[in-house]
């Protein structure tokens, strides 16, 4: 647990009822509360209004190309790992109209998008996903090239992190230095611990906005044993992490741009783009212009796109990245290697989604390891 800063109040202990008080306070404050919820057989992000919408007792089982939910029967509200998609779809929606143009005589007038952006409270943001939001901030909230609607959504959002007390089998946050404990950027942080049937939640306030909500929470002040028990639960999650990314991935990839492994993985890779679309930091989109039938109105849309599509690298004369190998290499080397030059960090937070949601179970950690291992001995 991070030591509470001098202005931060001591952590409090609340129960399920206390969490409902929090949800009510957020809704009363004009927030739309987004949280994990059992939908279509998965624990996915959705709008909630009640603590009963959280998946009590549910756990998930994740493997390469495999995801199932199990009912653990207990009362834990956060006893699972990552949701199928991250918070990206709320901050950076899959589809967005950027502006319209209306024909006026021989010319046209631009109509800007002015619809107000929603005010979100994100409840249950995992450590890796919080780091991913930080990475998106670096991409979109970036001086002259800022994406105004992203920045507007982000500025209004309240983030309630949750420390992981269980790691999934595709998680590798520990080797990326992103989890399982929530780092900077959250307004409030929860840790679930104690009795399986009626667990307690330790709440920490970590920002002025967080302290304001915290003040209305009630509950009791956390005792030293509570903090110790919560810390132990998070430490246990760290020991449950079984997958690891090579720490020198950026350098390994950089010196192996012509490695035979790229062609080998391309035999398996479907080029379906799932990995990029579920990745909480992949931010690529394409813009598309539409018209009405009469040509009186045109609109420009931005849509999630992916380096796995051939149109994505299309310039005059054709696509630059024609082979599956070159598309996979583009994705992985950007994510793990030249993201450092571009944004000063890795583009991967170790959430494991690309592994779980790849329909044929391609594992980014394994791909790096194969290249690394090949460097050791004779080929």
């Amino acid at each position: 647990m991070k030591p509470a800063g001098s202005t931060d109040p001591l952590p409090a202990i609340i129960d399920k009822g206390g969490l409902q008080v929090l949800i009510d306070a957020l809704i009363g404050g004009g927030f739309t509360v987004i949280a994990p919820r059992l939908t279509d057989g998965v624990i996915a992000l959705d709008t909630i209004t009640s603590v009963d919408h959280l998946p009590a007792g549910a756990t998930d089982e994740q493997e390469a190309g495999y995801y199932r939910v199990h009912d653990g029967g207990g009362g834990r509200l956060f006893d699972y790992a990552t949701t199928p998609q991250g918070w990206k779809r709320y901050l950076y929606p899959p589809e967005e109209r950027l502006w319209q143009a209306k024909r006026e005589g021989a010319g046209f007038a631009i109509v800007e998008e002015r619809a107000p952006v929603p005010r979100y409270a994100f409840l249950g943001v995992r450590a890796c996903d919080l780091r991913a939001i930080g990475i998106l901030d670096a991409v979109f909230d970036h001086g002259r090239s800022a994406e105004p609607r992203y920045v507007a959504r982000r500025d209004q959002a309240l983030i309630i992190g949750v420390n992981c007390t269980r790691a999934g089998s595709t998680c590798f946050c520990t080797s990326m230095g992103t989890g399982p404990a929530v780092g900077t950027g959250a307004d409030l942080v929860l840790t679930e611990f104690g009795d399986d049937a009626a667990p307690a939640l330790l709440v920490e306030a970590r920002s002025p906005a967080g302290r304001k909500v915290f003040a209305r929470l009630g509950g009791r002040q956390a005792a030293a044993e509570d903090i110790e028990a919560a810390d132990a639960a998070v430490a246990k999650a760290a020991t449950m992490v079984t997958r690891h990314m090579a720490t020198d991935a950026a350098a390994i990839l950089k010196r192996n741009l012509e490695h035979r492994e790229w062609a080998k993985v391309a035999q398996r890779c479907l080029g379906c783009a799932n990995c990029t679309l579920v990745c909480p930091t992949c931010f690529c989109g394409s813009v598309e212009d539409t018209t009405d039938l009469t040509g009186a109105t045109a609109a420009r849309w931005r849509r999630w796109d992916s380096c796995f599509t051939s149109d994505f690298s299309y310039i005059h004369g054709g696509s630059i990245r024609r082979s599956g190998a070159s598309r996979y290499r583009q994705w992985m080397t950007h994510k793990l290697s030249h993201w450092w030059q571009q944004f000063g960090s890795s583009g991967c937070v170790g959430c494991g989604r690309c592994i779980t949601w790849c329909p044929v179970g391609i594992d980014i950690t394994e791909q790096v390891r194969r290249i690394k291992d090949s460097e050791g001995g004779p080929h």
Partner: protein
């Protein structure tokens, strides 16, 4: 705002079920706008009025299955400035291309009381095997929004926004949960072109491949994964052998799982 000189549109039918042409009538709101902006010159499903060619835009439905049709498509091409094929029959040979995997005389003898009356080709082939096609609109049936988009792009002289990437992209944008990963359901989405409007996976079903192969389909990897998950060779063959059985990547994959 209607145009001064409206382009002439014709709709032609070959071996098909009419479902794709009916998509145009199904366009409801947009249909009036389409009708206001083009002269529908030949469209037997909708109107008896016939205007002689040439045509600015011909929409062709259906595959080539008879010697007569193999002639007729050339006449239509000669009278059309732009020719767009619509649907799996016209772009891949359709479900009737299943005959391509069998002996045509066997089929004729099973089905018809007087086989000698039947004059048919041994294979059902897509229009692009016979004439130059300007654009192919996929689907069994086509998606009416895509149809309007193609007509719209034609009218506004721009490129149609018809993506060629996988169905998976639509699943992820819509937030649909992957049925392959979360249920183990066989799904052709990763090798199938998007465009149906995201019909099956959100309802918990795997993609049937109605829109045919995507831009770079790795059918071998997907089929290999299905086989590893205890799917029989026959079942894998049959997955690839539906409405787009005649599309080369699907045809080759289905043949690879043929038990000899």
């Amino acid at each position: 705002m209607a145009r001064a000189k409206k382009p002439k549109l014709a709709v032609w039918k070959f071996a098909s079920c009419d479902g794709c042409q009916l998509s145009l009538l199904d366009c409801e709101d947009e249909l009036l706008a389409v009708a206001a902006n083009v002269d529908i010159a030949h469209f037997p499903e909708a109107t008896r009025a016939v205007i002689a060619g040439p045509y600015d835009l011909s929409l062709v439905e259906g595959s080539i299955t008879t010697p007569d049709d193999a002639e007729r498509i050339h006449k239509i091409r000669r009278r059309s400035k732009r020719l767009i094929t619509i649907g799996a029959c016209a772009t891949a040979g359709g479900i009737q291309a299943l005959r391509n995997f069998a002996r045509i005389d066997d089929y004729i003898n099973y089905v018809y009381a007087r086989p000698e009356y039947i004059d048919t080709l041994a294979k059902s082939t897509p229009i692009h095997d016979h004439v130059w096609v300007d654009f192919e609109l996929r689907g069994c049936p086509i998606d009416r929004f895509q149809l309007v988009e193609v007509i719209n792009a034609f009218l506004n002289e721009r490129r149609p926004n018809i993506p060629r990437y996988s169905q998976c992209v639509e699943c992820k944008r819509s937030g649909a949960v992957c049925v392959m990963v979360s249920r183990g359901t066989l799904c052709l989405g990763p090798v199938t072109q998007a465009g149906c409007g995201n019909l099956c996976p959100p309802l918990g079903r795997g993609c049937y491949g109605c829109f045919g192969p995507m831009e770079a389909p790795n059918t071998m990897s997907l089929a290999g994964w299905f086989r590893e998950k205890d799917t029989s060779a026959d079942a894998v063959r049959d997955l690839f052998r539906t409405f787009n059985a005649g599309a080369a990547p699907f045809r080759k994959e289905s043949e690879a799982h043929e038990q000899r």
